[in-house]
């Protein structure tokens, strides 16, 4: 919303400037308030993390080891950045998918199932079709989006025409998606070369024309030194583009405007001529289509095939990411990077310290909870501050 607050580039002579501008001091104070939450929460999380380790391990040495592992392996290892960016990619897509629905006041708990179906559809088109890359790759990606969209369409239609609550129906669709995956990957879509006791339930490999390349060579060409196997593909760039498009859509388009009206005050949407049902449908379908992108990096760039054991809980993590990122494009990217970093750090802790894996999971939980609570506290403080300002007059 900064855009509107920026003073217009041209003077508008008919306007008394004092009457329309937020005083600079107030704006700086507001901005400082926004920074307060992340900074405070990281500090508190660090303190709590130390406490957790002390309680469980009863050793200051482990605190040092954990901090060292998080620092040196999590952030500054040769491959850390590649892992963080690569693992953040699906989380960004999934977080955006949740956020689109949130903006319209809808809880899409079904991202998990939607990207699974999307990944399956993309995997199928990826190995089944043969065409030059310029046709095959876009079609494969579209198939992924279509898969997610179709899976989201069911709860969307149920909500609009039958009033079924989307939370229930999207959760149910997750179960159905699991079953469909299991059925198809062990049956119709199963790679025929997989046989015997160690047979993997997975599709055949996608054609090279549908594969998306690694970004490692690009990064290495600008001075990094990532290992070739690092899970970082050009999908990362697509994810950033998606986040930017999302932010622009929400702020700068009529669709985004109507989405926000519907999401913040549905009772005002109708008198404003906004067709609520059509908007609910569009928001949910868009959410599903974006969700469909979340699984594609694994299918088209890392595993090069759809595997049964590939579902990684992106859809549920995404809810936390959207909440943490306050449904803003930038916030979601930041939150996805944080989650990805925590993942990386916890493997570091597992590799180089005596601290059991369970403790690192507790640490992750503590950090995320702290952030949520700190944000909520700051939100309340801000609300109270705004309430005070609201009684400015009358």
């Amino acid at each position: 919303m900064k855009v509107e607050e920026r003073p217009p580039p041209e003077p508008e002579p008919e306007v008394e400037e004092a009457a329309v501008r937020v005083p600079l001091r107030q704006r700086i104070r507001g901005f400082a308030f926004q920074l307060l939450a992340p900074v405070a929460s990281l500090l508190i999380a660090a303190v709590l993390g130390v406490l957790v380790i002390l309680i469980v391990q009863q050793s200051w040495g482990d605190v040092g080891d954990v901090a060292d592992a998080m620092w040196s392996y999590g952030l500054f290892n040769r491959n850390s950045l590649a892992f963080i960016l690569g693992r953040a990619t699906p989380l960004i897509f999934a977080g955006l998918a949740v956020a689109v629905a949130f903006k319209a006041g809808l809880f899409n708990i079904g991202v998990e199932g939607q990207y699974a179906i999307g990944a399956l559809a993309a995997g199928y088109v990826g190995y089944q079709l043969s065409a030059p890359t310029v046709i095959h790759l876009p079609l494969t990606i579209l198939a992924g989006m279509a898969g997610g969209l179709i899976w989201a369409a069911v709860p969307a239609l149920l909500k609009v025409y039958r009033g079924a609550h989307e939370v229930i129906s999207t959760i149910m669709m997750n179960f159905v998606a699991n079953a469909v995956l299991l059925y198809l990957l062990s049956g119709a879509l199963k790679d025929p070369s997989q046989r015997g006791a160690i047979a993997q339930q997975q599709t055949p490999q996608v054609e090279s024309t549908a594969q998306v390349g690694s970004m490692v060579p690009f990064f290495n060409s600008i001075g990094f030194d990532f290992r070739g196997s690092a899970p970082l593909s050009w999908f990362f760039v697509l994810a950033i583009v998606a986040a930017v498009l999302y932010a622009l859509t929400v702020r700068r388009t009529r669709f985004g405007f109507e989405l926000r009206v519907l999401g913040t005050n549905p009772r005002a949407a109708e008198p404003a001529g906004i067709r609520s049902n059509a908007m609910i449908l569009k928001a949910m379908l868009l959410s599903g289509a974006v969700a469909g992108l979340a699984g594609l990096q694994d299918v088209l760039a890392i595993d090069d095939r759809m595997k049964l054991d590939y579902i990684r809980g992106y859809g549920f993590t995404a809810i936390a990411i959207a909440l943490l990122g306050r449904n803003s494009g930038l916030g979601i990217v930041a939150a996805a990077l944080l989650f990805s970093f925590l993942d990386r750090a916890s493997s570091g802790i597992g590799l180089s310290t005596d601290v059991p894996k369970e403790v690192t999971d507790i640490l992750k939980g503590v950090i995320i909870l702290t952030i949520v609570i700190a944000y909520e506290l700051v939100r309340r403080m801000t609300a109270r501050r705004q309430l005070r300002e609201q009684h400015e007059r009358a």
Partner: protein
């Protein structure tokens, strides 16, 4: 030794007088972001009096009350409660000082009973368990002899607004408050309920309670208040005895110039019917709330629909705007059948709508003032081009509205909730006028507005009418109907039971129709009265 202390120890009649003051404010100043909301306010409220606080929107009334109730702290000055200087740093402190406040928007739990709501926060308990019987007994005791009986077992969502308000007041009494602050208590009430509220207030006064209340209707203020303090631009203009003054004098103090709400004459002549409603029926929960209603509004005409609230006005408006599907009947705009059309289609066809509940249906309070300034027109050029918002055009429109409709806001880049209620209303009104409508449906457009703003809105309605707009004005305020309407219809029990020329209608006549005591033959309304009066027929 401060000056005040010297004065107090000075004793004598001065001290005696101060002792009998329930509240005294001395030089209270409160600033927000460069705006002085309260400027050196001196206010004295005697014990056992009903003290009214009046002023235009933004005069600083609510700010002052919030400081008395501990929701705000003064930047300067001091507050004395029963003669003692006090720091009222929180509502909790206010309650300790036996000061209670009823907010304009009630703070009740809808699915709790009356008794539960009243004792909430201070529940009688028995060994850790809530003693509901005891609660109900105490509530009954409190409610006894206080207005019409109140059922302590009734759920709050099932009782009327007037009763809910009484629950709020009883809640304060239950906590032992003897200084009661009522923030615009009459704004939500229909006339009968206002009468009842006033009876209750007088009774509270007889019981020795002190009441401070904020009000807009000067007639009401003069009816019930002992003294009136007028605020303007954050300053106290004066305190007068209600017995020694009249509406005109108080109004003049409020706006700083002579004001008279009077019939606004325009020069337009009504044209052919623009909105036609035929045999409209709306059934809600098995009840026919709009029961075969016929209505037409002509171009360049203000049609005033008078009626006691709850006679089908809300449902009628919703059906006309497209928020509710009628169960039978037809709605035509300009000969186009819009009965089944949705809101957007109707807006494109030239409808503008000022909803009854502006905070809830007219604005998105969390969104910016600029965004709210185009809500409903946001899809039109120049605000949207090829699906993209033109933020500068939106901003420009917002700035125009803020200027032309005198909306007080620090900026158009702040959220809607940063505006006071009256200013939110002006923004919505301005926005709807700015859509250049053919038909304007205005539901209670001046409710909650002060005299200056009311006159302004009336003027705007008349100007819209003169510019050719057909205006359907729904109002429970007869003064407003009589001041503006070219034709008046009275709605009773979901039907238009009488139709009169605005210039010929009288308050008493309308009052009779409104209560259903006298039923003008609805078919008679289709007779000479309903047809365009010959003297106003446009000359070809």
């Amino acid at each position: 030794m401060t000056t005040e202390a010297t004065e107090v120890t000075g004793g004598g009649p001065e001290e005696a007088r101060r002792r009998s003051l329930a509240i005294e404010c001395r030089g209270i100043t409160r600033r927000y972001a460069g705006v002085v909301a309260n400027d050196q306010i001196d206010l004295q409220v005697a014990e056992g009096e009903i003290h009214a606080l009046v002023g235009e929107n933004g005069a600083g009334k609510s700010t002052l009350m919030k400081m008395l109730y501990g929701l705000e702290q003064p930047d300067e000055g001091e507050i004395l409660v029963r003669g003692e200087p006090q720091q009222i740093e929180s509502p909790r402190k206010a309650i300790e000082l036996r000061i209670g406040m009823v907010h304009q928007h009630f703070m009740l739990v809808d699915d709790f009973t009356v008794a539960e709501n009243i004792v909430l926060g201070d529940e009688p308990s028995h060994g850790g368990r809530l003693d509901l019987d005891e609660a109900e007994r105490r509530v009954e005791e409190l409610a006894r002899g206080f207005g019409t009986p109140l059922d302590p077992h009734a759920r709050v969502e099932d009782i009327g607004v007037g009763q809910q308000q009484r629950v709020e007041i009883l809640k304060l009494l239950y906590r032992g408050a003897d200084i009661l602050i009522l923030d615009e208590p009459t704004a939500v009430l229909v006339p009968q309920e206002v009468e009842e509220l006033f009876a209750n207030m007088r009774q509270l006064k007889a019981d020795g309670k002190t009441i401070i209340f904020i009000a807009h209707s000067l007639d009401e203020v003069l009816q019930v208040a002992d003294r009136i303090t007028v605020l303007r631009d954050g300053k106290v203009i004066g305190t007068v005895d209600a017995a020694d003054t009249d509406t005109h004098k108080v109004a003049e103090m409020m706006v700083g110039r002579p004001v008279l709400l009077r019939r606004v004459e325009g020069k337009a002549t009504p044209g052919e019917p623009l909105l036609q409603v035929k045999d409209l029926r709306v059934i809600v929960g098995g009840k026919e709330l709009v029961a075969g209603l016929d209505l037409d509004v002509r171009r360049s005409e203000i049609y005033g629909l008078a009626g006691v609230e709850g006679n089908g006005q809300s449902e009628l408006v919703e059906a006309l705007v497209g928020l509710r599907k009628p169960d039978a009947g037809r709605v035509y705009l300009d000969d186009d059948d819009l009965t089944r059309a949705d809101v957007r289609t109707r807006r494109h066809a030239g409808l503008a709508y000022i909803p009854e509940d502006r905070h809830a249906r007219g604005m998105v309070l969390q969104m910016l003032v600029s965004e709210n300034a185009v809500l409903g027109q946001h899809e039109r050029e120049p605000f949207t081009r090829h699906g993209l918002l033109d933020l500068r055009a939106i901003r420009r429109r917002a700035v125009e509205l803020v200027r032309d409709f005198r909306v007080k806001t620090p900026s158009v880049g702040v959220p809607g909730y940063a505006l006071s209620g009256g200013n939110q209303q002006k923004l919505v009104l301005g926005r709807e006028f700015a859509s250049k409508p053919k038909l304007l449906i205005a539901a209670h457009p001046t409710r909650g507005l002060d005299i200056g703003a009311t006159q302004f809105v009336w003027q705007e309605l008349v100007e819209a009418r003169d510019a050719g707009v057909a205006v359907l004005l729904i109002s429970a305020n007869l003064e407003e109907i009589l001041a503006l309407a070219d034709r008046v219809g009275v709605i009773y029990d979901g039907r238009v039971v009488a139709q009169l020329r605005g210039s010929e209608a009288t308050m008493s006549e309308l009052g009779l129709y409104m209560t259903g005591a006298s039923s003008g033959d609805p078919d008679g309304a289709g007779g000479p009265e309903a047809g365009p009066p010959a003297d106003r027929e446009p000359t070809a």
